[in-house]
Symmetry: C2
Subunit: 218 residues, 2 copies
DNA sequence: ATCCCTTATTAGACTTGCCTAATCTTTTTT
DNA sequence: AAAAAAGATTAGGCAAGTCTAATAAGGGAT
């Protein structure tokens, strides 16, 4: 259907569009650990295939067709992550790279059966929503922990960066999806935040960390 | 580690070595649906990497290193087939292409965990042995059904060609791994064979079919 | 308004894996 | 044994995807 590289670019664009109007060449290149010139080439190719709309020098957006493909890739990725953690016993910090490979296996039947086998999960091990067969995503009203105020009591809904480092840091603090926290103090100086878990002593989280934690009211 | 194409070539060589002293360029090309000249190129590359020994015009063999890699690929392929059939509910005639993709996902941990999850199976859904982590294969003394004589009573141990067509034909006759058959008559003319299952009426199997059925004494 | 700096794009080259066509080798047939 | 056929290799080329270096565009800051 599409090459691995095309799929990777579509997924990168999709991810960048989550927090921005358009995706830019440099950001795509950084994400794919490749060079801007390579990305320009690929964007040209994807634009010809009507999967993206590319305004040179002003970023790129997905067409409906491109978005549909990207959502299928996200679906595959998150279903595989769920399988790896729930069934094979991987840690949530170990699954990203493997899922990155598995998501490119092209077989609709495989994904449908895997989905059924896992019980049609709505969220992956990082709390991110899994698009259904038609690309529909279960909506939730979450916000970043970094936007919370002193006194707020929240439940961790998702971790929006799946790098090992962040996940292991959370593990070390005993934090996981579903953990409930109360914000005790926010330090204006560095944006760091003192939080207290339901049971146990309070501790501090840097802005880097709180920025990547999606939470909902507890 | 190695490219997909390198892996495909190694596996093809390994498969051809199962019934022959050496693997030949044309046979490898046919198996991979590619051209002989492309295979020559790749053999040169694999020979440089010390994965095969190539005698131009006289075929190719695997080095110990090449064989170890091929066995890991066979292991991965058969474990995935087992997963697809036993866990996801695929038919045994539907899994080959998908496993062909899954086997190239590179993660030793993934395979080890999958193996454990499946209960360290020794045979895949087609009855073929699954090499263990170290490439060891559980030995069995099977022979082709086509070499059996009138009166022999045998159990189907494996199907040595996993093309959809053959597997669906077996399905239609009610044959599967473990089925017990008695040879009633062998026709010299075309090598076809009349067999009778444990329960049910006798039927005929062409030589094409009986050649690909591995059996053991019942 | 111009200069500078960042970001994008183009140009040209390289690698991998594949192909066709031409040339060898080996085997088979007559 | 010579000719023919089958198979293998080499030579040269092509497409995909990447890179570096050179050029162009846009967005501040002065």
């Amino acid at each position: 259907m599409h090459t691995r590289s095309e799929e990777d670019h579509l997924k990168a664009v999709h991810a960048l569009l989550q927090d921005g109007e358009a995706a830019f060449t440099k950001d795509i290149a950084d994400r794919l650990r490749t060079k801007a010139s390579s990305v320009t080439d690929m964007l040209k190719k994807l634009a010809e295939k009507k999967l993206v709309r590319h305004e040179p020098y002003h970023g790129v957006k997905l067409t409906a067709k491109g978005e549909a493909i990207a959502l299928q890739l996200v679906r595959r990725h998150r279903l595989w992550e769920t399988f790896l953690v729930d069934r094979l016993g991987f840690g949530w910090d170990e699954v990203h790279e493997v899922a990155e490979q598995l998501e490119h296996v092209a077989s609709e039947k495989l994904i449908d059966k895997l989905d059924a086998y896992l019980g049609h999960p709505s969220f992956d091990p990082h709390g991110d929503p899994i698009p259904d067969k038609h690309g529909k995503i279960r909506a939730r009203k979450t916000k970043r922990l970094s936007t919370c105020m002193q006194g707020d009591s929240v439940r961790i809904a998702a971790v929006s960066e799946t790098t090992d480092g962040l996940l292991r840091l959370l593990d070390s603090k005993g934090l996981r999806i579903g953990s409930v926290l109360t914000v005790q103090e926010v330090h204006a100086f560095d944006g760091s935040m003192d939080v207290k878990p339901k049971s146990g002593a309070a501790f501090s989280l840097s802005k880097d960390v709180s920025h990547h934690l999606q939470v909902e009211p507890a």
